[in-house]
Symmetry: C2
Subunit: 232 residues, 2 copies
């Protein structure tokens, strides 16, 4: 549940969230981990993608997941089954994670491990193509997923998410033969809204594009570590 | 954009919306029209379904559409092309329609026609499986769409929408042969959350289930008119 934010009260609330998000990010930087906020409509394939990525990158990175859902721990259980520590964050009626919820999740995670031992911390947001984009949680990178089944007009109709994203994964490309959808048109619409983001076509079930996606992840981690060296 | 509503301020805002929604509904009743609020995730097929329904029921009902979108009038143009009056409501950063927006849309609609001449008024909400369910706009019936591509766990993970719905359309069933999804399991999960709602499997592109859906619509309209007769 939520209310519109066009008034000063709403702006104060966003500012308070931003303050907490920066506090979270200061922790992430001190722990030298890269935090990624993964967002999309319900059913675009966030959990399926993470199942593949957590499994395939298990030897490269130490990882953990903060798993946001309104109710149920179904997704948390799916990811825990891959062998990665997962902290479920149940949002109740809230349609997105905010920085305070992630801060609470971090405290639970610290009971199980030392975050300084992690390379990547995944935040899987509530399925919603609108609201999560407006609430930073302290992440270093925003990753948006858009399924080919959602049609090619969505980047234009829901521009906030795509404007904020560092990387957009066009998912379920294995279904393209059965859909009246032009994937190049989807990519063009994403770049129309955000000319600088990376766009990668993937299929978690068939494996298309996962190498490119994992290369992107390695580049982000390397760039972060190079910057830390320069600062140090 | 929005904020959580767990405080008294949020409850006041919901109460104010409810008051306006009842005001809208009083108008709908005076005009003797049936108002339907159509909701789903982005890309579940609301506009494609309405294209088919508006076209196939053109001889049965006088209809108009209030078309909610964050930006663009792409959907409004698609539906206007069917030959039905469409008023676009652009929500900007808001992730749902509220009663005040619909009230504003009604005023624009009245510049084009007399609502008392309508049988059905469609409200196509912003694509979002969470927030629209909490903001009544004065509708008589809530229709939720869930695409088979979204997976079978969504009614459990996003229960508010499915608890509120009078009818749930399971869309894109033409894609079932290509998906690791059991449609009966989707239906069972919907009924687990809401034992009384109607559940209809449809494919707007292939035509499956449209007769059953249109029968449901006719029943709702007939039921409304029988009640008006009893009251009169």
């Amino acid at each position: 549940m939520h209310m519109p934010l066009e008034d000063s009260l709403g702006l104060n609330l966003l500012a308070a969230n931003q303050h907490r998000a920066e506090h979270n990010r200061a922790h992430f930087d001190a722990w030298d981990l890269l935090c990624l906020n993964v967002m999309s409509s319900p059913g675009a394939g966030k959990t399926s993608l993470l199942e593949r990525t957590l499994s395939q990158l298990a030897d490269d990175f130490a990882m953990a997941v903060l798993e946001g859902d309104m109710t149920t721990q179904l997704d948390a259980e799916r990811l825990e089954a891959v062998g990665v520590p997962v902290v479920p964050i149940t949002t109740g009626r809230a349609c997105h994670l905010d920085a305070a919820m992630v801060s609470g999740g971090l405290r639970l995670l610290q009971q199980r491990l030392d975050p300084a031992d992690l390379d990547l911390l995944w935040v899987e947001n509530v399925g919603n193509l609108v609201c999560p984009a407006e609430f930073e949680v302290g992440e270093h990178r925003k990753v948006a997923l858009l399924s080919v089944t959602e049609g090619d007009d969505k980047p234009l109709k829901y521009p906030v998410m795509f404007r904020e994203a560092d990387c957009v994964l066009i998912t379920k490309v294995d279904l393209l033969p059965y859909l009246p959808v032009d994937v190049e048109r989807i990519a063009a619409h994403i770049h129309q809204v955000n000319p600088h983001c990376s766009v990668i076509q993937v299929s978690a079930s068939r494996g298309d594009g996962l190498d490119a996606w994992h290369d992107w992840l390695r580049q982000q981690r390397t760039a972060q570590q190079s910057r830390s060296l320069v600062v140090a």
